[in-house]
């Protein structure tokens, strides 16, 4: 049975005079990978920050795993966040801690009852899953951008989240690493049965990882469906433009 993990209706958010989100509607089904595409600065990060409660909406309904984010209590928010993983655009690894400590951090301080053994076991397992076991005692500064992204993902999945929010998991990475990250996202979906929102402006990532694609343009979702549905030949101008620009860039480079 499919049930809604996430339900957003008529969401508005502005910063001062800047209207960022203007009537966003969004649903996410159980075990679904939804890709949110959009130009830089359209409010993709703002959208998932609202979902995780880092930013509050101006108006509109935001329901995450059955919790209404507008009225959620502090205690419920803490409980909810245990089930919602957030992979930051810049990885946001804790600079002062080793990779191992980074991954242990949420286990150690959010799940206070967990045993030392269990922490070790889960840390090693996710490090294995992202293929970076050897980095356990290194500091984040010693890792490459792609490795940091993978550790960011490891730190998220170590909590066994039901919903994972990826903020531009492939941005700034070379194509080969991008494919690796895309595969990792798919593996995570298989293994943890989690539902995900993947934010990106990388169409290859969208095509590979998304069960469904939604296009955020000028403050609301303009188009939604499978990748080919969204970018079919009858697509409206704005949608086509987005597609063309993206691939044109790649074409130009090929020559």
């Amino acid at each position: 049975m499919k049930e809604n993990v996430l339900r957003i209706r008529n969401l508005y958010k502005s910063f001062g005079d800047l209207d960022v989100l203007k009537g966003v509607d969004l649903d996410l089904n159980q075990s679904e990978n939804l890709v949110v595409l959009g130009k830089s600065g359209t409010g993709k990060s703002v959208l998932i920050k609202i979902i995780s409660g880092l930013i509050t909406a101006d108006s509109g309904e935001v329901n995450v795993l059955g919790f209404d984010m507008n009225t959620i209590t502090k205690e419920d928010l803490i409980f909810l966040r245990l089930k919602v993983g957030f992979c930051f655009q810049n990885s946001a690894l804790y600079d002062s801690m080793t990779i191992g400590e980074n991954i242990e951090f949420p286990l150690k301080y959010a799940l206070k009852t967990i045993s030392r053994q269990e922490i070790e076991k889960r840390t090693d397992r996710v490090l294995e899953a992202v293929g970076l076991r050897q980095t356990k005692n290194q500091m984040p500064a010693e890792l490459s951008g792609g490795q940091r992204k993978r550790i960011g993902i490891a730190r998220t999945i170590v909590m066994n989240p039901e919903l994972i929010l990826y903020d531009e998991p492939t941005a700034g990475l070379d194509p080969i690493t991008c494919v690796e990250i895309n595969n990792l996202i798919l593996e995570v979906k298989e293994e943890y049965q989690a539902s995900s929102i993947i934010i990106t402006h990388d169409l290859t990532c969208a095509k590979q990882t998304g069960d469904r694609v939604a296009l955020l343009l000028e403050g609301s979702f303009q188009k939604e469906g499978t990748f080919s549905e969204v970018f079919n030949s009858h697509a409206e101008n704005k949608v086509k433009q987005f597609y063309d620009y993206n691939f044109m860039e790649q074409e130009t480079i090929k020559i």
């Binding site: 966040r81 957030f86 655009q89 946001a92 600079d95 002062s96 949420p106 959010a110 730190r155």
Partner: protein
């Protein structure tokens, strides 16, 4: 033009008032989060160690030089009255009542306040604080409560250490000039210090430590976006805490004197 300037100034004043209010809220949050179960002992211990370790070399040097030079410079005035035997008590009073807590705190503000400001500031702008928040760990607890407590505990200890080092410097100077022996020096020095002096020094040092921790954390926690924000936070951590330290000094001196 004049009108624009007025608007600019009133905007700045508004900003100051908002800042002050936010600062007060920050302190209130600290006390509402402060409870035994929120203290992470390993982190608290680690922070105390960091603060102590970071300030120790400079404090040792400054304390020693202050004691030595202060003694040297006071000698001629006392010699005029043939009262060089009062040197130990003069130095002890100056050290314990004023110099030790003040010197320690100003150095610690430079070393620790800027460090906390920069550390939390960079955590803020690289979203590490947000990352803690979304993983159900209260970043205020983890970062602020432990750092402020650590500063509040460590600065008083360092202050008494500074006093001890300063008195040592002073003793060396007196020993070389007046050949006073150590026992006589100590007796003379401590004779002039009473409980009120020690108590007010302790209260001051606690308040100074609290200020350094709080201002550093507040500056870092509210750092603006970008690397510029980190620099500003570090700077604010020092400048604001030294300013508040002087205000507290003046206030506590008044209160102590009224109790004498």
């Amino acid at each position: 033009m004049g009108k624009n300037k007025d608007v600019f100034i009133s905007k700045q004043i508004d900003e100051k008032i908002v800042n002050f209010k936010n600062g007060v809220d920050f302190v209130i949050t600290f006390f509402s989060e402060l409870s035994l179960k929120n203290i992470i002992w390993t982190e608290l211990f680690n922070q105390c160690y960091q603060i102590g370790l970071r300030s120790l070399p400079l404090i040792t040097l400054t304390g020693f030089v202050t004691g030595l030079v202060f003694t040297q410079q006071s000698r001629p005035s006392l010699q005029e009255f043939g009262a060089t035997s009062w040197l130990p008590s003069l130095v002890a009073i100056a050290m314990v009542r004023a110099l030790a807590p003040l010197v320690t705190s100003i150095i610690a503000a430079g070393r620790v306040g800027s460090n906390i400001g920069a550390e939390l500031g960079s955590m803020k702008v690289t979203e590490q604080i947000a990352a803690m928040e979304v993983s159900s760990v209260n970043p205020f607890n983890f970062l602020v409560v432990n750092r402020v407590l650590a500063a509040t505990i460590t600065i008083p200890i360092l202050s008494f250490y500074t006093a001890a080092v300063g008195l040592t410097g002073s003793f060396i100077n007196i020993y070389l000039n007046e050949q006073t022996n150590f026992n006589a020096y100590i007796i003379n020095a401590f004779d002039s210090i009473n409980f009120l002096d020690l108590g007010s020094a302790l209260v001051k040092a606690i308040l100074f430590g609290f200020t350094i921790g709080m201002v550093g954390c507040y500056s870092g926690y509210n750092a603006e976006k970008g690397t510029l924000g980190v620099g500003k936070a570090a700077n604010a951590g020092v400048v604001k805490s030294i300013f508040i330290i002087f205000l507290i000094e003046i206030f506590v001196v008044q209160v102590t004197n009224s109790l004498r």
